[in-house]
């Protein structure tokens, strides 16, 4: 088949893997956005900056405190999530009764402040982060770098665990109920404001986790969040705002589509997701997995 279309199989599989790795980041990031939007009704534009903060938290933990990658993978999401909780308690909280636009403006403003601070401190050129899993597997038909494989596995585990937590556990049923009727859930004796704070912290921690995961394969730079978040928002629009499973599946799927486009028509690889977004918006404005309101 490869001879037929004139593409070397190695290149094909390499792009497929790269697509899956990108899809892994899209999935984890859009999942965090979906969780936050579901309960808070806030479009968290700061998500990209929080992803960048996760990468920098890993970098700072390593260079200043000697904490290795695996420790950072646990610590950085907690640190970034805790900062998210402070943001929710002090700022976001006051916007819930207002239009979505206000949340978007606040979180966008925060992006400018956070990225500015990091640029001031670290410049724009970026910092390298050592690969904790060098080497790779020769699968016969292709060479698979170990770290890429780890990224895919780690993201699948985190996405599945999050889906399970929300769809199959008691805590998750509180969350799903509060998405529908927060006032009623509270009238049953559940402290909804605390749940909202923790949910935001959790969504932000997912972004921080993705940041640490990205540190060894992307340059740790203050601008890394801006580059990816636009694509992730397109993913969320295509999947449908507020759908957990939709966010995950769409993330991986669009990563793959992007990878395949890079094989067959490289010129379109950076725009294909936006073309799909436009088509989905025309045909199914609520997104592939979203419910019409």
């Amino acid at each position: 088949m490869f001879e037929l279309i004139g593409i070397p199989p190695q290149a094909f599989y390499a792009q497929l893997t790269l697509g899956l790795v990108n899809g892994a980041f899209y999935a984890v990031l859009s999942l965090g956005l979906a969780v936050i939007f579901g309960l808070l009704n806030v479009i968290n534009f700061t998500h990209g900056a929080q992803y960048m903060m996760g990468a920098f938290a890993g970098y700072i933990l390593l260079t200043l405190f000697g904490v290795p990658y695996w420790g950072a993978l646990i610590l950085a999401p907690i640190i970034v999530g805790a900062i998210g909780i402070v943001i929710e308690r002090t700022m976001l909280r006051h916007l819930y009764h207002l239009d979505h636009l206000y949340g978007l403006l606040l979180t966008f403003g925060l992006v400018l402040v956070i990225e500015g601070l990091f640029r001031q401190q670290y410049g724009v050129s970026g910092r390298p982060y050592p690969n904790p899993l060098p080497g790779g597997q020769n699968l016969g038909f292709m060479f698979l770098p170990n770290y890429r494989l780890w990224v895919i596995v780690a993201s699948v585990v985190v996405c599945f665990a999050t889906w399970y937590l929300i769809e199959q556990t008691r805590l998750g049923s509180y969350l799903r109920a509060a998405v529908e009727r927060p006032d009623l859930v509270q009238a049953f004796g559940i402290n909804v404001p605390v749940m909202v704070t923790l949910t935001y912290g959790f969504g932000v921690a997912l972004a921080g986790f993705a940041g640490v995961l990205a540190a060894p394969i992307q340059v740790v730079s203050p601008m890394m969040g801006m580059n990816i978040i636009i694509v992730v928002f397109a993913v969320v629009v295509i999947g449908g705002m507020g759908s957990i499973l939709g966010a995950i599946i769409t993330g991986y799927f669009l990563g793959l589509v992007e990878g395949l486009t890079r094989v067959f028509y490289p010129e379109a690889s950076s725009t294909v997701i936006f073309v799909i977004m436009a088509i989905v918006l025309l045909i199914r404005p609520q997104g592939l997995f979203g419910k019409a309101k």
Binding site: A177, L184, A187
Partner: protein, 236 residues
């Protein structure tokens, strides 16, 4: 707390939704172990009164004392944890939760609530449908579920907002039996009803509400002699 006396005492309650002033000095009392109704036309302020008791109305003034505790400034989750169970007007069954998840959503706040099995014995229909999605149930089943889920919590004071609305007569009868059964078990119940005939089959006393305040209290046995006046109030 003694087993007699007043469970809920509402005094000079005022409430607003945004700019509109809904309650104008509501005052009434609910003695322990009684079923008490708020009767009145649409828009008289009955549902708003319930939402105030539950702490769900933003702007409220006056006094609401539950078991002697002032709750007028309390958050609704704290009020619920004092032992108040709420069945809202539109039943509030969650579409994204199945029957068991809906049933077990309200946390147990006091000992003495029913177990899942006891609830299912009381509502066998819900046991059959326990894995169905909440909003796939019929209206009657949803109402049963809305009542069933607060019986698990151990709350002894229940707020039922129009539990018979839109239901078939045979289901209304069943709900009447459940309410009488709960009263026999020692529950105290505040009921909002449009269906005056139904109210008279379960209640001990009625408060007639007009324009956001109580205009008259009648004991259930006095209803016969006050029928004309009542019909005027309710506009039937």
């Amino acid at each position: 707390m003694a087993e007699t006396g007043t469970v809920l005492k509402v005094k000079d309650l005022e409430a607003w939704y945004g700019e509109s002033h809904i309650l104008h000095g509501m005052s009434f009392e609910i003695p322990r172990g009684e079923v008490v109704t708020l009767l009145g036309r649409n828009g008289a302020g009955k549902t708003t009164t319930m939402r105030c008791i539950m702490g769900m109305v933003g702007k409220r003034l006056g006094s609401i004392a539950f078991e002697g505790t002032e709750t007028i400034k309390m958050r609704s989750d704290k009020i619920a944890r004092l032992g108040v169970g709420y069945v809202p007007e539109e039943r509030g069954i969650f579409a994204s939760l199945n029957v068991i998840e809906n049933l077990e959503l309200p946390p147990v706040i006091k000992p003495g609530g029913m177990t899942r099995d006891e609830v299912f014995d009381l509502f066998p229909r819900l046991r059959e449908r326990r894995n169905s999605q909440g909003t796939k149930l019929s209206g009657g089943e949803q109402q049963m579920l809305a009542i069933a889920r607060i019986l698990r919590t151990g709350a002894k004071f229940l707020l039922l907002d129009e539990p018979t609305e839109g239901l078939a007569p045979v289901i209304v009868q069943q709900i009447g039996e459940i309410i009488r059964d709960l009263k026999a078990k020692g529950f105290t119940i505040l009921l909002v009803e449009q269906n005056f005939h139904f109210a008279s089959t379960v209640a001990d006393r009625h408060y007639v509400v007009e324009h956001g305040h109580v205009v008259e209290m009648m004991r259930n046995e006095e209803i016969g002699s006050n029928m004309e006046k009542l019909q005027e109030y309710l506009g039937v």
